[in-house]
């Protein structure tokens, strides 16, 4: 369906763009919101990314690559929006919890998180991650891209991806434990 829609768009038929919007708006919005935590900002990021795709569709030589290219652009756009202060995330650093040390012998992160009483609590903790960490979480757990793919799309080393995910998990654990205190 992408291929046909993009062929239409390249011929100047804007109906092709509508097809692409219908196909990817949910995924794109979800990703943008997960990173920005702001519905209006997320909508704006997604709209802007579709407009940019509309303008640049001629540079896309392989229509099958559209989804990956587009979603990566959404993530980058959302990251920029989040970092630009459009809505500053409530960072852990700002709350002075960065230095929280976990004593050895504590339960594993899996047990701690999966044992959380409510999803809402975890969701609230997700919001405390930095934009970079949330982007890594989105690409890894929402888009199901593997570490290598995430690294390529964010143009960072795979080790950095793994570190961000690891840090994200660690921070979740720290926050869960701190709340339990």
């Amino acid at each position: 369906m992408d291929v046909e829609a993009i062929a239409r768009l390249k011929r100047g038929d804007i109906g092709g763009l509508e097809v692409l919007v219908r196909l990817y708006q949910v995924q794109a919005f979800d990703a943008a919101y997960l990173i920005t935590r702001d519905r209006a900002l997320a909508e704006d990021v997604v709209q802007a990314t579709f407009l940019r795709a509309y303008e640049r569709i001629g540079q896309l030589h392989d229509a099958r690559a559209f989804k990956s290219w587009f979603l990566r652009s959404v993530v980058n756009g959302a990251l920029s929006a989040a970092k630009s202060g459009a809505r500053s995330p409530l960072s852990i650093e700002a709350r002075g919890e960065e230095a929280l040390e976990l004593p050895t012998g504590e339960p594993g992160v899996e047990e701690v998180i999966e044992a959380a009483e409510t999803r809402e609590e975890i969701w609230a903790l997700l919001e405390a991650l930095s934009p970079n960490q949330r982007a890594a979480v989105v690409m890894r757990y929402y888009f199901d891209w593997n570490d290598a793919e995430v690294a390529r799309k964010l143009e960072i080393p795979p080790g950095t991806v793994r570190r961000r995910l690891h840090d994200a998990k660690q921070r979740l654990r720290q926050l869960l434990l701190s709340r339990a205190i």
């Binding site: 291929v3 046909e4 062929a7 239409r8 390249k10 011929r11 100047g12 038929d13 804007i14 109906g15 763009l17 509508e18 919007v21 219908r22 708006q25 949910v26 919005f29 979800d30 990703a31 919101y33 997960l34 519905r39 909508e43 997604v46 709209q47 579709f50 407009l51 940019r52 509309y54 303008e55 640049r56 569709i57 001629g58 540079q59 030589h61 392989d62 229509a63 099958r64 690559a65 290219w69 990566r72 652009s73 980058n76 992160v109 899996e110 998180i113 999966e114 999803r119 975890i122 969701w123 997700l126 979480v137 989105v138 890894r140 757990y141 929402y142 199901d144 143009e155 998990k169 979740l172």
Partner: protein
Amino acid sequence: MSETFARRVVREYAEKNRPHRLDLWPAIYGRISLNREAPRSQTRQHPLSALFSSRLGMKLPALAGALTLVLVTLGMAGFLTLGQPRAASAAEVLARVEQAAMGGAAQDIRSFHGDYTFRSRHDANGAFFESQRETWFVTPDKYLSLGTMRDVDGREWSWFGGTDGKLHYNYRSDMAQLQLYEPLPASESGDNRSMMDPLQIYLLEPSDLQTVIEGARQKTRPVDPRSEPRPPYMYDAKLAGSDTILGRPTYVIELTLVPGASLQRTGAQIPERVKLWVDNQIYVVLRTEGWDAQGRVLESSGYTSFEINTSVDPAVFDFTAPSDAAIVDMRLADAEAIGKGWQQASQQAPFALFTVAEPSMTSLGLIPGRPIFYEARGTVSQMFQAEVVIKVPPSTWKVRGGKYNTGDSDSITEVRPRLVMVQGSPSSISTAALSGGKAVQIGNITGHMYKRDGLHILIFDRDGTRIMLSELVYPGFQSAGSLDEQSVEALMLKAAESLQSVK
């Protein structure tokens, strides 16, 4: 936290925060319609009526959606009332030139006849390259172009190419060779008008025009350097007024090279100042002029006659082979093998030892006009980009395979050698040139490596499919041409062996 649990939590979180009825299209379409006037082909195609007919029968949209719909309607109504495109900014005109060149203008053109000339100063000594062309086409499948060229050494030759809907052909007098192909394939949607587009002129001739316009567009739109490379130079663009060329109203765009932006390439072919005359209805570039820093004309091109949607004598497209031509029949004998080759290619891609770029078009979307098709008619199934980066030192930058694609560089240029792989049936890829080549061993298969127009080509057969690897020459400077002989051969053998090792 397990992977499964993490996915579930993230998705539930996304669903929780997603608007109940997410529909971004009205707002996006509104922004397109209101912020920039839609190209004519779009407004004709965009189903405003469908917007009403399909939605009025449904429940009323939310207030925001309704407001957007009203704005869209007002914007469209204003546009339709105007009838003609509004005066535009340089950025808008250039954007439409790009869009038209992608095939958008073809939807406005049912027939075309025109004469086109191109003249470019080749070097500082004042030698000029010249070409003329006369072209006809009638949609959907009739096309003919006749041309002459005079190179900087004064050598002249002629060529023609076209299709009558049943046969596609190319002829060059200097080679006295006529190549026959099946008609150009339809695009994926079954509409091949865009492939008959006279705007290939914009894409292919003069070769620098596309780069110039891209350079100008970098200044007129936001660029994400993570998703596209910047061109080696940029232009400031301004709308300088209007003019009439061959009776057609045009926008006049003036481009000025951004100081310091041409550091990566300062060959004689880069104009400091460019003037474009752009048809204000179909956005074809009707005329160009370019000057160097001293104000001397560097290149000029344009139509000397231009007619669209007028009657064309069908006899123009009657095909007769020149009596002196050696005929090379490239028509595919086995379409099924091509499809099979395509499937094999996608299976092999993950195993290739090179960075694999996806093919730019599908198996039925062959790109005409590139050097590779001198030899083959098959599926462009892979492009290989070597992992190595070749650093070309200053002043030695040179592209093999194109006598006039030469130039100088005052800085180090980095290129990644590229190979293209074409697969087809054994009869679809010529082996006529093999007599001059040499046998090379690829695992337990013997292949043939030879050179054509300065480019290495390697052919071998595998499982009934003929595979051809060739150095790739782009209209620009990216090619494998900067590698030495041994390196090119080694790269090609490595690529071939990686393919051979896949079972």
